[in-house]
Amino acid sequence: MNDFSSVAVSPVGVVRRDPRKEWMARNRLHPRHHEVISEGVGGEMGANGLMRRNPRQIGFIGPNGIKRIDRLKGNAVQTPNKRQSVVPEVVLPWHVVATADFYIFVVPDMVGGRLSGHDKDILGLAHRLQKEIAGQGAVVAVCFGEVKETQFELAGVDRLVHFAGAEFEGFAAEAKAAALAAMDERWAPKHWLFPDSIHGGTDLGSRLAAELGERPATQAWQVDLEKTVARGAGGSLDISRATPRILFLLEECAYPIDETRHQVLSLEMPEVQRPAPRLLDQGLVAVDPNEIPLAEAEFILSAGNGIHNWAQFHQTAKALGATEGASRVAVDDGFMPRSRQVGASGTWVTARVYIAVGISGAIQHLQGIAQCDKIIAINTDAGCDMVKRANLAVIDDSDAILSALMMLANEKLVEPGAVQGNTNKEDSDAA
């Protein structure tokens, strides 16, 4: 008795085998392996119309004569195969809102022009609320100023409203609140969701709530259609209340969207009538970067064993306006104070941009910079762990690169805006 689908009995009774098919059946890594294995497994129609399946016809006989049954059904762990290294890209299904019965507006913080984790949680919550309400709703994200985000469709944005323009750049809380009030009048959304954060979400939401005369739920963390649980009394109370229209939400209030793609269509924007601004923005003020606590510094220039000219390192940090950090080696050798150490036994930093100069990337150091967005490595060793982790790695001597960087920074200082070709107010003020 044979289990092979490759075995056929010819009309004259001679058993014909297909050695190629047998080979494919034995070789689980063969691209046509499953095709061969699944041949004849489906069974065939019996005389009385029932499907008859031969239970002995599963598996195949291996080269050593033992029957092998592959029960993994194509889910075998892929062994690294040099010939086929193409990983199939996962394409998520579309979530289509053709015509929206109602809208839920989300005003993300967009720190640095991108959606933060907090923003994505709130978009996830907006979709949860939208599912609970009868009818089909659209989740609308309202953004201001410059936007660098490219993943709106994966974050759950059905409709996007983008107020661009100089009046929304910099500090423009009043202009933004006026725009939101105009949007409210035009679209009358079911809910307004704001991140309760220091990045401007709370301020903007409070302005809108005062303007509309509605009482928001602040520091909310458990929200459904009927009930909201919000923190009160400095975080020591849980207040349960009916869900209001305006909500300020804490981090991790819901799971972000990860199973669907969304359309990101634009929504009509009403004409915003802006009163004369009462708060006049004078630009950012230069702060001594070394006064900023290392844990919350935005831009860190960190030094390790590869630094030989320490005076130059300090000068470069000053020219770039970066907060100084150090690896354990630099601290142990006495070049930097212990308070500047980044990593497991020092500070866990959250910088947006982290430049590691001459740091090879010990695991304790990499733990400390796990929260950083963009990492730039300057190192002489192309194979070190820091280069693998970095978004931009430069393989060169640190002295040469630092002096070139310092020169660029000084040029920029002399001629603000000349490097990028723009001379907006913010640049010239801070410089």
Binding site: L237, V285, I376, K388, L405
Partner: protein, 256 residues
């Protein structure tokens, strides 16, 4: 002409012991008021005039303190609005968020909307007031500061980055006069239906693996996180490499 400044104070709550105390941010509002107006500063509280915490504010060197007397269940905003409308006020200073009650942080915004004044949130310092305009430093995240000019009158809420409140002297606090103004309050209707409970610690978010088969779960548990490898510059000139770094810094706006 001396400035007419009002600091609004509330009863704070110590985060560990839960005892009532001078609120951190409100103490800063009084400190800022003392810096700008000195003894001319008026400090206003809405609630119980017998509250002992008020003496802690008075101990910062105030000769008197005004209390708009009303019960806890009444809304503080209409009373304050009526009080502030009567006086010819230049600046109202508050904290960002109270440490008791709802702590929504809406009071400065509601007052500003009712009075038609601008509101400046999260102030780190009021540098100077001249010619009817104030130069204000705002506290931004990550230790940054922004300068803003605003015309008087306005409402400012003080961030924790503002200069800390001075020590409170017990004797001075006891000697201070507390002026009580009886006020007709409005019951906070929305708040009546709320239930309050001690805050539950929030559950930590679990990492969920949405694998359908055992093999996928195994892969999720064992696979190393594969970060997409960044750009590596090896053969370019030093100048080009430095320029590449500098361009990234400009793009991320960390160099201004």
């Amino acid at each position: 002409m001396p400035l007419n400044i009002v600091s609004l104070v509330s009863v704070g709550r110590h985060p560990q012991s839960g005892r009532s105390r001078r609120a951190e941010q409100d103490g800063r509002a009084v400190e800022m008021g003392l810096k700008l107006a000195g003894q001319q500063l008026s400090v206003v509280h809405v609630g119980n005039p017998d509250e002992p915490v008020l003496r802690q504010y008075a101990g910062m060197g105030l000769s008197s303190l005004t209390v708009l007397k009303q019960a806890d269940r009444f809304d503080a905003v209409p009373v304050l609005q009526r009080y502030l409308e009567q006086k010819n006020i230049d600046i109202v200073l508050t904290g960002v968020r109270s440490e008791s009650g709802e702590s929504s942080g809406m009071v400065p915004y509601l007052l500003a909307h009712a009075l038609g004044w601008p509101v400046v949130a999260r102030v780190a310092d009021i540098v100077c007031v001249e010619k009817g305009e104030a130069q204000v430093l705002l506290a931004l995240p990550r230790g940054q500061r922004r300068a803003v000019r605003v015309a008087l009158p306005f409402i400012a809420s003080l961030d924790l980055a503002a200069p800390p409140a001075r020590q409170s002297a017990f004797g001075v606090g006891l000697r201070a006069k507390i002026e009580t103004i009886e006020s007709i309050g409005e019951v906070d209707q929305i708040r009546v239906d709320w239930q309050e409970a001690e805050a539950k610690p929030r559950a930590k978010r679990l990492k969920t693996v949405k694998a359908k088969t055992a093999a996928e779960r195994f892969k999720a548990a064992t696979a190393k996180p594969q970060g997409d490898a960044g750009k590596v510059l090896i053969n370019e000139t030093t100048q080009q490499k430095a320029q590449a770094i500098f361009d990234l810094l400009l793009e991320e706006k960390v160099i201004r």
